[in-house]
Symmetry: C2
Amino acid sequence: MNVDGVACRSIWVNADGCSIDIIDQTRLPHAFVVRNLCTLQQACNAIRDMQVRGAPLIGATAAYGFYLAMRDDPSGAGMEQAYQLLFDTRPTAVNLRWALDRLKAALLPLKTTARAARAFEEANRIAAFDIDINHAIGCHGLDLIRQLAATKTPGESVNILTHCNAGWLATVDWGTATAPIYMAHDAGIAVHVWVDETRPRNQGASLTAWELGQHGVPHSLIVDNLGGHLMQHGMVDLCLVGSDRTTRSGDVCNKVGTYLKALAARDNNVPFYVCLPSTTIDWNIDDGIEEIPIEQRDGEEVSRISGKTADGKVVDVQISPDGTAVANYAFDVTPAQLVSGLITEAAVIDASSEAIAAAFPERQRQ
Amino acid sequence: MNVDGVACRSIWVNADGCSIDIIDQTRLPHAFVVRNLCTLQQACNAIRDMQVRGAPLIGATAAYGFYLAMRDDPSGAGMEQAYQLLFDTRPTAVNLRWALDRLKAALLPLKTTARAARAFEEANRIAAFDIDINHAIGCHGLDLIRQLAATKTPGESVNILTHCNAGWLATVDWGTATAPIYMAHDAGIAVHVWVDETRPRNQGASLTAWELGQHGVPHSLIVDNLGGHLMQHGMVDLCLVGSDRTTRSGDVCNKVGTYLKALAARDNNVPFYVCLPSTTIDWNIDDGIEEIPIEQRDGEEVSRISGKTADGKVVDVQISPDGTAVANYAFDVTPAQLVSGLITEAAVIDASSEAIAAAFPERQRQ
């Protein structure tokens, strides 16, 4: 998608042909800073320090990190070290492990001299694969937006609410929930996006608003509290969110607050769709509320907020009284019955065990 | 309620017996600053600059402001000017008008020399009346908490979720939604409060957390996104919120985001009660969603946040990209069917036209 009018991805091969460039997302939205990764350690730091975030982008960064390691030490010991150091950066990220396993399996049979080149190829394939998947999600979602646009009078926009950042910054390109939005906008369909700020880490206010603004998609930042009111008043035509983990029955674990928007959508007959690559489906889990453990994070994510002061410095400020106790669960689960449909790379399908199994027959357990 | 272990109200007569003290709520939670009001103009500024906020407290402050004016100029012209200047500070505040009308009606028949003393009496009565009402709400709500406490094993707390600040800082004492909580705590019942931070103005994080902390009530600050997850997991026994305006049918207009919590409460069978003085009932309105206009406020309330830096300074920081459009509706409406009951000064009643009319027969139109 565009940044300053120029097409950009979240990770790419530097013009030198062998090092890797990323956008330092910890600096957004106040500064656009590109960082060059030349070593395994730099790739590990980029993931650990959350300069890159979002499961698909973490996977791609790990793959390129593995490649950078192979340039320095393609021995068996070098592979083991690269795997372990990269894996330890964010041990709960599913795509990270998937990418590392794929690299390891591809390189292990090769002579050491062939490993760096093959790792580079594989990393490029992993990145391209992510782009293809998001593009397919975008095409399926575009059909939905097109149908809604057909019900509008000229000049009226399709109003889409999204939560958190399931945008191109979380993937290699397009994003998941944003892919249909970018495609609709690029196709000349009038869309307007309500961007939930997404407390506590404000990924909506800092990342989604930045993405949409850079690409020229009309949008309004709102507090997480507002979506219900907007839906009550017919100001939302469609909710599009991402998924961190989807059960085989269609329950969706996503950034905390997603469930509240799904409740409001049902109460006001607003379609609520979840955009996800099938890789987020956890075939071992049926009941998301009972079975998915929800990560508790540092309370300072809630009690402190980062922002730009009048003189342009970015600082942390404390918003609550000294010593206030905080509870900070990072995700919640939206039960399948609140989900209008899942927009996957294969098709738009019902959020049900039957539809999911039918869409991805090769992926099921047993 | 207690501040630093000493009982405190939000407004009181100074030890000099004739000037008025308030807590400057714009400085909370980072500093506890008492301001002394000696003139009409100081009272107007305190209301306009939101050093005092919350409908009942604004009403009491206006009444004391009228008294301060009468000390300087008790003439008819002086009364007119005091009325107008105070009314213009926050023209949409219902209690403000009610207090001013009451003062005006009481003073008009009197000789000018008698007006200041009578205004002082009336203002004290208005403040005492607010305390009585909140105390009555607290007693009725306490019964509910007591019933919930009876279902707990020893050592378990009753978990109560609240939104925004319907606390003693918004009234003269006790608060509305907090009155049952303070009474339960003072009665030795183990309670724990989930405090919604309440974006965009963070009244939960800055005021409710401060109040509860000062009085020693166990509580945890949470983002507005979290309540649904907590209710899904049985971690909320009761929701208690306030009301800015209640329709005669029981729809509740309160700080934006209240509706989302009510939806989650219904979905998880959590009792959702609204604490309100009957003065917030608008007898002219039936359908809250259709008929209550929702105030849109400055977008900077969303894009900028105030907090304390590491070196103790309180500053504003910008959290979104430069120039991001913002939509900022301040309230939403929770339909009566999502409300388990209204806790009023008269009794706990159903959120229905019939129950409301029966509880306050003298207040109805006609």
